[in-house]
């Protein structure tokens, strides 16, 4: 029996000929990522060594990435002090893949990892963030873990007791209609699967549509795979992966890709044709509460958010700017734009998109997580509604449990900014 792409990756990382779903393996980790929660990882890491008589030494500092993004610039003395402690730890331990709060090389962790070529096809990547599923977009097996588990990885260099997940094959064909794209596809899929439909499983993406999709679009779909409960999403590495890593991340070494065997065993196959897909929207308070935008069109929106690791890349900003150029954000609606990284910020500046946003009345913010997780900026008032290109709409997610968050594509968000109500971009 052949292997799925994740089975192949895990077999290699565990030094085995073959593995299949349900086996328990201890894969070597190629990259281990944390953000500000590295503060907790450090605490747990030091505790592991307590009483052992051993010095707390990281197995391989070159394989650790730490990126500040969740609360930047710091919103409180507590956060600032956590960040300071992490900086000291980074310096003392020779961690090189560190991205501080900077306008040039800073940004959201899930954007920085692909952008700097830290993730390669076939890698095992772990991160103390549930959206670590994102890096499956580059053909890696990439999944979220807790801080204590990360402390264990920092100590040992491998992940203990990993069950090989079963894989759902998702085959996507057809051409996206105008104003419809990867975000609508993944919302549709999550609606079909439900919030736990892919629990403990991997979503492996195939088909013409995926093959033609840019890495940016693949990042959006793998990023949100976790919202169906998936351990990871993955697009097996292909020509586009190699192009992205060479042209955009500047990788010069060979980039071997891992692909599944033709006779791999899948628990389920889902086929989707996007030719007639409509713009989709996830309604409060669960990501699987997905409807065509038409069904909720007309609802008043007080805050529009464009950005995040899901849809804060150059093509996302371009789509929104194309709709907003020369228009105004509606009275009574505020619009916040936060590009996913410093590099994207600069590109959007050069292309004039940020100017378009500002002239329309939007507020352009520094790169980072911003309002996505509701901790330090862009909180909502009681009973207010936000329309956001981010990935979660749980109660309280944008800082206020008495508010409502809808999730959509950059095109839907931009069209709605002009009208002040949820708007289908095809009608604008």
């Amino acid at each position: 029996m052949g292997m799925t792409v994740v089975e192949k990756i895990l077999a290699r990382a565990a030094g085995l000929q073959s593995v299949s779903a349900g086996d328990v393996v201890e894969p070597k980790v190629d990259l281990a990522m944390s953000h500000e929660n590295a503060a907790l990882v450090i605490n747990q890491f030091v505790e592991v060594f307590q009483g052992t008589g051993l010095e707390p030494v990281i197995w391989d500092p070159a394989r650790i990435a730490i990126i500040f993004d969740h609360r930047i610039p710091a919103e409180s003395p507590k956060t600032a002090t956590n960040q300071k402690k992490i900086r000291e730890f980074v310096a003392a331990n020779g961690i090189t893949k560190f991205h501080d709060i900077r306008g040039d090389v800073g940004g959201i962790c899930h954007q920085i990892l692909p952008e700097y070529g830290y993730v390669r096809p076939g890698y095992v990547v772990v991160g103390t963030d549930s959206h670590t599923t994102t890096h499956g977009a580059l053909g890696a097996f990439s999944f979220g873990i807790g801080a204590t588990e990360m402390a264990s990885v920092w100590s040992l260099g491998y992940a203990v007791n990993i069950e090989v997940p079963a894989t759902i094959k998702v085959v996507v064909n057809g051409e996206f209609p105008p104003f419809v794209g990867p975000k609508d596809l993944i919302l549709k899929l999550i609606g079909m699967l439900t919030a736990q439909g892919a629990n403990y499983k991997v979503l492996e993406f195939h088909g013409e549509t995926i093959r033609k999709m840019s890495t940016s679009g693949r990042i959006a779909i793998c990023n949100m795979s976790v919202e169906a409960g998936a351990t990871s999403g993955i697009v097996p590495g292909d020509e586009e992966t190699v192009r992205y890593l060479r042209d955009e991340s500047g990788v010069e070494e060979a980039i071997p890709c891992v692909v599944p065997d033709p006779d791999a065993a899948y628990v389920r196959t889902i086929e989707i044709n996007v030719s007639n897909l409509e713009p989709q929207i996830a309604c409060p308070h669960t990501v699987d509460n997905v409807k065509p935008v038409q069904e909720v069109a007309g609802r008043k929106v007080q805050q529009i958010v464009i950005g995040s690791c899901t849809n804060g890349r150059l093509d996302d900003l371009a789509a929104a700017a194309d709709i907003l150029r020369g228009k105004k954000v509606a009275e009574g609606t505020r619009m916040l734009v936060f590009p996913a990284s410093g590099k994207i910020f600069a590109q959007a500046l050069d292309k004039g998109y940020l100017h378009d946003f500002m002239k329309a009345g939007a507020v352009v913010m520094n790169s980072g997580c911003g309002p996505c997780l509701g901790v330090h900026e862009g909180a909502l008032g009681d009973d207010e509604t936000a329309l956001s290109t981010t990935n979660r709409n749980f109660k309280g997610r944008m800082g206020n449990p008495k508010s409502q968050v809808f999730l959509c594509s950059p095109s839907v968000a931009a069209a709605s900014a002009i009208t002040g109500v949820i708007t289908d971009p095809r009608n604008s």
Binding site: E36, S130, G146, E149, S155, L156, V160, Q196, V375
Partner: protein, 165 residues
């Protein structure tokens, strides 16, 4: 006999258990104060230490979905409560095992606030209603971590074995 102190719906996220705005608080000893902070009544009852050790939170499907924040486990561990849920999201389940928070998978569980539950090896008995429900065993692969008392002592053992071996 341990009592059900709250009965929750499906898809309880870690944002609900431990809201994002408290994520700058990381030390396990400091997180309990913010457990279910947006459910103000329940949070104040927890903080008032109204519930005994082993008291039970009953959840529905997909308990602990969303963010990987480990504070969602340490905050509950701080009160020594147990979670009995129909199903549990992957990262939350793993974090619970790693931190030694007692979690029980019980797909058919029926219980309301105030019921008394008896958790045995393989069943959960609702002694208030007299109904018994089967448990789904936690992954056998995690037994080593549970037996060691969590992932920190387990990793410590592996490290020492490596040095001595």
């Amino acid at each position: 006999m341990p009592k059900v102190i709250i009965k929750l719906e499906n898809d309880i996220s870690t944002d609900d258990i431990y809201p994002g705005r408290y994520m700058a608080t990381v030390l396990p000893s400091e997180t309990p104060q913010f457990a279910f902070a947006d459910r103000t009544d329940f949070n104040s009852r927890l903080r008032a230490k109204e519930f005994g050790v082993g008291s039970i939170i009953v959840g529905g499907e997909n308990f602990g979905c969303g963010s990987s924040r480990e504070q969602a486990c340490s905050t509950l561990k701080g009160y020594d409560v147990a979670v009995v849920a129909k199903s549990i999201a992957r990262i939350f389940l793993q974090n619970s095992i790693n931190l030694g928070l007692q979690v029980v998978l019980c797909p058919e569980i029926e219980a309301t606030e105030g019921d008394e539950l008896q958790i045995t090896e393989d069943r959960v008995l609702n002694t208030t209603t007299g109904k018994a429900f089967n448990q789904v065993k936690l992954p056998a692969a995690r037994k080593g971590i549970m037996d060691a008392g969590g992932l920190i002592p387990y990793t410590r053992k592996l490290l020492l074995a490596r040095v001595q071996g």
